[in-house]
């Protein structure tokens, strides 16, 4: 397939997004003329510091926190690692971490590392729609719990969790509350004070900034051990010369995302049209919650076929999507998220995710709805387990 000549319907925005032209324009001066080190005392350095301070203040304003509560990192994964390991290592005596079974690997694998170091991790289950089981969570959080870590919105099935309620449970037990908001920030309104969280992570490349920049909100007074020690940057809490161009890009991208939030109504209409039409294909089910769902997330399972072959056919037809099938992953295991919702392993293999954004149109949805039923039909025709 020729990427140059063929129009691509990009419906994989939960994986990454293109860098917005306005973001490129905002970053360009940081490469060309304003390339100083913000730690330098001369004018070149101080101009860079002004850019850094300005970006921090703008992002803090959007998230509803103070500038000094916001730390820049290299990515969402670093932010997740720092929040969890930092809380664990700074904990005085408490040994338990409560998280969910559907977290991103950046959270799950960080928790597994801490388990090896003697911390106890409770992985709370979810209901069939992918919402955290609150009774199970309440029972798991006790006075030995140092941290509750539950993602704000799931990257695969798009479910939005009741973070405010979970934060109250954490705090009632004297534990910290962290939420991985990588999929939420920029997609839905996020205010750290309203959520009542102590830490919140997000990433640039999901919202139109480049890959390689993220941030962590840490509430004033919360003590985290450093993950990266260095030369005193980020108020002494995260070493490494600040990536000024990308941080400036992150601020710009977040502002644009906020301006575009009213467009969510249109994205939700496209999402629901996709879901409703795809569910008309026999032996198809929706993964995730019908309403507590990210505006652009569509995740369905087609029985009797395998997700990777579906994806290859979509790609062949100029549609970029994603799957939770084992065959598309390096681990050979199907999606832990789908399995946690109780979806049988056979159905998890046939899952397909579309993640729509501001850049998608009704014509994109038309093409997806033209191609998917045909491809599903063809693959089922050659499937030895399709009952016909």
């Amino acid at each position: 397939m020729n990427i140059e000549s063929k129009k691509i319907v990009y419906a994989d925005n939960a994986a990454t997004t293109p860098v917005l032209p306005e973001v490129v324009s905002a970053m360009t001066p940081c490469f060309e003329t304003l390339w100083g080190n913000p730690s330098s005392l001369h004018d070149m350095g101080q101009k860079a510091k002004e850019l850094l301070d300005d970006a921090r203040a703008r992002i803090a304003g959007i998230l509803g926190c103070e500038s000094r509560e916001l730390y820049f990192t290299s990515c969402g994964t670093e932010s997740d690692n720092w929040a969890i390991k930092g809380a664990a290592l700074a904990s005085k005596g408490r040994k338990r971490i409560v998280t969910s079974k559907i977290e991103h690997p950046a959270v799950l694998n960080t928790c597994r590392t801490l388990e090896k170091q003697g911390f106890e991790v409770i992985y709370v289950g979810v209901n069939s729609n992918g919402i955290v089981n609150m009774d199970e969570l309440k029972a798991a959080v006790n006075n030995d719990t140092l941290l509750v870590a539950v993602m704000m919105a799931n990257n695969e099935i798009g479910t939005i969790q009741p973070i405010k309620e979970i934060a109250e449970i954490a705090h009632a037990n004297g534990a910290l509350m962290f939420t991985d908001a990588v999929q939420a920030v920029g997609s839905i309104p996020v205010n750290v004070k309203e959520l009542g969280v102590d830490m919140l992570s997000f990433s640039g490349h999901k919202i139109g900034a480049p890959k390689g920049v993220g941030a962590l909100y840490v509430k004033k007074g919360v003590r985290l051990a450093n993950l990266i020690d260095g030369g005193g940057q980020e108020n002494g809490h995260r070493g490494g010369t600040e990536n000024i161009p990308y941080i400036v890009g992150l601020a710009k991208a977040l502002e644009i995302s906020m301006e575009r939030l009213p467009d969510n109504e249109r994205i939700i209409r496209m999402r629901d049209r996709l879901i409703n039409e795809l569910l008309k294909i026999p032996y198809t089910n929706l993964n995730g919650d019908p309403t507590e769902r990210l505006p652009g997330n569509v995740n369905v399972s087609f029985e009797f076929i395998e997700g990777e072959s579906l994806l290859l056919w979509l790609n062949y037809n100029g549609i970029a999507a994603s799957t939770g099938s084992a065959c598309s992953s390096k681990s050979l295991d199907p999606s832990h998220v789908l399995l946690a919702t109780g979806l049988p392993i056979e159905k998890a293999h046939g899952s397909l995710r579309f993640s729509l954004s501001h850049s998608n149109t009704d014509e994109d949805v038309d093409l997806i709805l033209k191609v998917v039923p045909e491809v599903v039909g063809n693959l089922r025709k050659m499937s030895p387990i399709f009952p016909g």
Partner: protein
């Protein structure tokens, strides 16, 4: 691209796909939990595989290896078909990513399972050579005749 052009060609234009009525041998390997099932049908005349069909549930590599395996055994004698190895399938496809090599093992097993079924149906008492071992398989496929 994840796959070679040859793999994509066999994936998008699979050869010998479908079922066969009155097949002389049918072999089914793999299982749905592992994410791949291959079913092979063979028609045998005078010890020659004169026709072969397949149906596959699985990833791109599973479909392409099934298709290639059918091409490699069509028109061959049973004994020749039994010498088909997974690496011959991989080579004919101009390579497979390491995690997908197990699909080629499954294709080899499917051909052997179809021949085993042919032997059984015709009361032929011959040994089927053991299939190549799959080092990458975490999933225990097993034969599900």
């Amino acid at each position: 691209m994840l796959y070679s052009e040859k793999v994509m060609d066999h994936f998008t234009h699979p050869r010998n796909v479908g079922e066969m009525e009155n097949a002389d041998g049918v072999g089914t390997v793999g299982n749905a939990k592992c994410g791949d099932i291959m079913q092979m049908f063979i028609k045998v005349e005078n010890d020659i595989i004169v026709d072969v069909k397949f149906k596959t549930f699985g990833c791109g590599a599973a479909i392409a290896t099934s298709s290639m395996a059918t091409e490699l055994v069509k028109g061959k004698s049973i004994d020749e078909a039994l010498t088909l190895t997974n690496s011959a399938v991989v080579e004919a496809l101009e390579g497979l990513p390491p995690v997908k090599v197990h699909c080629s093992v499954l294709a080899e097993e499917a051909i052997k399972a179809a021949i085993a079924d042919y032997y059984k149906k015709n009361g032929i008492d011959k040994e089927i050579p053991e299939s190549s071992h799959c080092h990458d398989c975490e999933c225990d496929h097993g034969h599900g005749h």
